[in-house]
């Protein structure tokens, strides 16, 4: 209702979250919310995000959808937000249990990396050698992704020959990925990327090399990656559902504010970080699916939305 003022707060400026803005606006319109505003911390800094969240409380926001700057580090502020009576949800990434967040809705990053690797192995010969490009090591998701890729590879009889981390920024990604391919392009059959920027940079690099021998599975929906898939330089990408997260999250927040409670027996999934996980959907999109990836994500969103109240909430 109109007293609900939702704040959607990402970890910092990043293209991944852009869909939240629209999602918030749509949700506010569809459910008659007072506000569902997208509030971006100016830099990707934990303390800045904290300061922003504190400020949002002062500004009268009363429901929070937060991408945790750090799964553990954001727990305290989430607890403080919850203590003001506002529903708090972790969005796109989870808080580590225990926390006062009602649940976490996002991508199971480990699982996504696992599935992505399996997709990659499908098009590679047995005993293939793969390289893994991923994000910042200070982000514990990175460790989960490294482990998941390793697991999928060994199950599929492949070998992870190199992991390059800390490259979720354009310049270092460009430098390291290209340097790697320059020296080792012949020693590797496949590439899996599990962070946005490395996916973009690696797509461009493969386009540059141009021989299409090396197969790659990327992540997210950057135009560069999608284009490379269409043109056959990249095998596919692991899509996530940021729009759905923002839309469903705003909806859930409003329901919780109008008296609903989370069911004790809600069928949450368990992932490494939390036992209260709702999968916002991960799909693999190959060349055949890139064009209608939006609708496939919308389908998932709709599916979750239709059953949401019955499945997860008690609305007396």
């Amino acid at each position: 209702d109109s007293s609900t003022r939702v704040a959607l707060v990402p970890g910092g400026p990043h293209p991944y979250f852009a869909a939240w803005e629209l999602a918030g606006k749509d949700a506010a319109k569809d459910f008659g919310l007072g506000a569902a505003d997208y509030k971006v911390p100016q830099k990707w800094e934990l303390s800045l995000q904290n300061q922003m969240l504190e400020s949002l409380v002062t500004q009268g926001y009363n429901a929070f959808l937060v991408f945790p700057g750090d799964p553990v580090g954001t727990v305290a502020i989430a607890d403080e937000l919850a203590a003001t009576g506002a529903p708090v949800m972790a969005l796109a990434g989870c808080l580590k249990d225990p926390s006062q967040a009602v649940f976490c809705m996002g991508t199971d990053t480990g699982n996504s990396a696992y599935l992505g690797t399996q997709e990659l192995l499908k098009v590679l010969p047995k005993g293939a050698k793969i390289a893994h490009f991923t994000g910042f090591l200070v982000d514990p998701n990175t460790q989960l992704r490294i482990d998941a890729v390793e697991k999928a590879a060994s199950e599929g009889g492949a070998e992870v020959v190199q992991v390059i981390a800390d490259i979720d920024a354009p310049e270092p990604a460009e430098e390291k990925i290209n340097a790697y391919l320059a020296a080792h392009a012949d020693d590797v059959d496949g590439i899996i990327t599990t962070a946005w920027v490395p996916a973009v940079v690696a797509s461009n690099a493969l386009r540059k090399i141009g021989d299409k021998r090396i197969k790659m599975v990327g992540i997210d929906h950057d135009e560069v990656v999608l284009g490379a898939i269409k043109d056959g330089y990249v095998h596919g990408t692991m899509l996530q559902n940021p729009y759905g997260q923002g839309y469903l999250g705003s909806y859930a927040a409003d329901r919780l504010r109008s008296g609903c409670t989370v069911k004790d027996d809600a069928p949450f999934k368990s992932i490494a970080l939390t036992d209260k996980f709702i999968d916002s959907g991960t799909v693999f999109a190959g060349a055949d699916a890139v064009d209608n990836y939006v609708s496939s994500m919308q389908n998932i969103t709709k599916e979750i939305f239709d059953g949401f109240e019955d499945t997860y909430l008690n609305c007396g």
């Binding site: 830099k43 800094e45 750090d70 553990v72 305290a76 910042f136 460790q143 800390d166």
Partner: protein
């Protein structure tokens, strides 16, 4: 502007022949610190007029808590800037100290007090290592701390595999959430307390005076019988301890010791680290320091950020406004000073 004209401003004042006389209170009114206080008051009035919530208890409490940490980070850098050097590794050391403390509490199971001491000792040790490397190699502190920032942070990530320590004594985490009289975070008191100690160090102690002399002019200090090298090691050590204190403040606030609390390589701390002392009047070339200035500088910057957040100025444009506000602040202070010097008041 030219240094030549700047000369006029640096002059301290007393007994002019024409008989005007400045007492200590008047001197304070003409100082950089007073300028900051004026700016803080002016902006506080503006913010609270535009957004009355600015003065709400919660908002003030949050402001106090955030600035407590930023100021402490500023102190940690200040103490090295005084020597004419800098310490890019403040963040890395702060995180290492905090992670060591977390490990001592969680894995070793120590009580929070010895764990805190242990963590701070690690901070001091890492800082001192920087100092020794700088003095021994004769290389600029920039390069040394650039390298050690990477090494120290890297070793920490390797040892912890980027996992946080969450089993922090409740007594310790309670501290970070405590409110005195509903608005005052005890952390701010810790910062102020340490500020007072630093102030005593620089104003009343032989060591502090020697540090300032060594920072202002190493050659003159050395020839006056001061162990300049030793002072540099001391300062880096102390900087490490203070970085550790800032790290522990964050631990107490977030209830966990986390590797990402100062960002990649601890780089997130660099801005507040430099900004607070420099705004506060500490000379980047060394030898002159203002503890109160650093405190006020750190507070002013935190306040500008939080004021702007409250005013909800255009989402993505916020940084632009912050920059403009910062420029406005320093220009206002410049205007104040040039008014005073035009009228021969300083």
């Amino acid at each position: 502007m030219s240094q030549i004209e700047n000369e006029n401003k640096t002059g301290s004042s007393a007994i002019p022949k024409q008989g005007r006389r400045f007492d200590p209170i008047q001197r304070f009114l003409l100082s950089n610190e007073f300028g900051l206080i004026v700016l803080i008051v002016v902006f506080a009035i503006i913010f609270s007029t535009v957004s009355p919530m600015f003065l709400s208890k919660f908002s003030l409490y949050a402001l106090g808590r955030t600035s407590a940490v930023n100021i402490m980070i500023g102190f940690s850098m200040m103490i090295v800037i005084v020597t004419g050097g800098l310490n890019l590794a403040v963040g890395a050391i702060g995180v290492c100290a905090a992670m060591a403390g977390g490990w001592l509490m969680q894995a070793v199971g120590l009580h929070w007090l010895p764990a805190l001491m242990g963590g701070l000792a690690i901070g001091g040790l890492l800082g001192a290592v920087n100092g020794v490397l700088i003095v021994r190699s004769g290389l600029h502190s920039f390069v040394i701390t650039l390298a050690t920032m990477s090494i120290m942070f890297g070793v920490m990530i390797f040892l912890t595999q980027a996992e946080s320590y969450r089993e922090i004594s409740p007594a310790f985490t309670a501290f970070g959430r405590m409110k005195l009289w509903g608005v005052i975070p005890p952390m701010l008191l810790v910062t102020i307390g340490i500020g007072i100690l630093l102030w005593v160090l620089f104003v009343y102690s032989s060591l502090g005076r020697q540090i300032l002399a060594a920072g202002a002019s190493p050659a003159a200090a050395e020839l006056s019988g001061i162990h300049v090298d030793r002072m540099i090691v001391w300062c880096h050590g102390l900087s490490g301890v203070l970085a550790g204190v800032a790290g522990f403040m964050l631990v107490s606030r977030t209830g966990a010791a986390i590797p990402s609390m100062a960002g990649q390589l601890g780089q997130d701390w660099l801005l507040p680290a430099f900004l607070a002392p420099v705004l506060g009047g500490t000379l980047l070339t060394g030898g002159r320091v203002s503890v109160l200035g650093t405190l006020l500088g750190g507070f002013l910057v935190t306040m500008l950020t939080s004021g702007l957040l409250l005013m909800q100025v255009g989402a993505f444009w916020m940084q632009t406004y912050l920059g403009l506000l910062l420029l406005l602040a320093v220009l206002l202070d410049l205007a104040r000073r040039s008014y005073l010097s035009r009228n021969k008041l300083v």
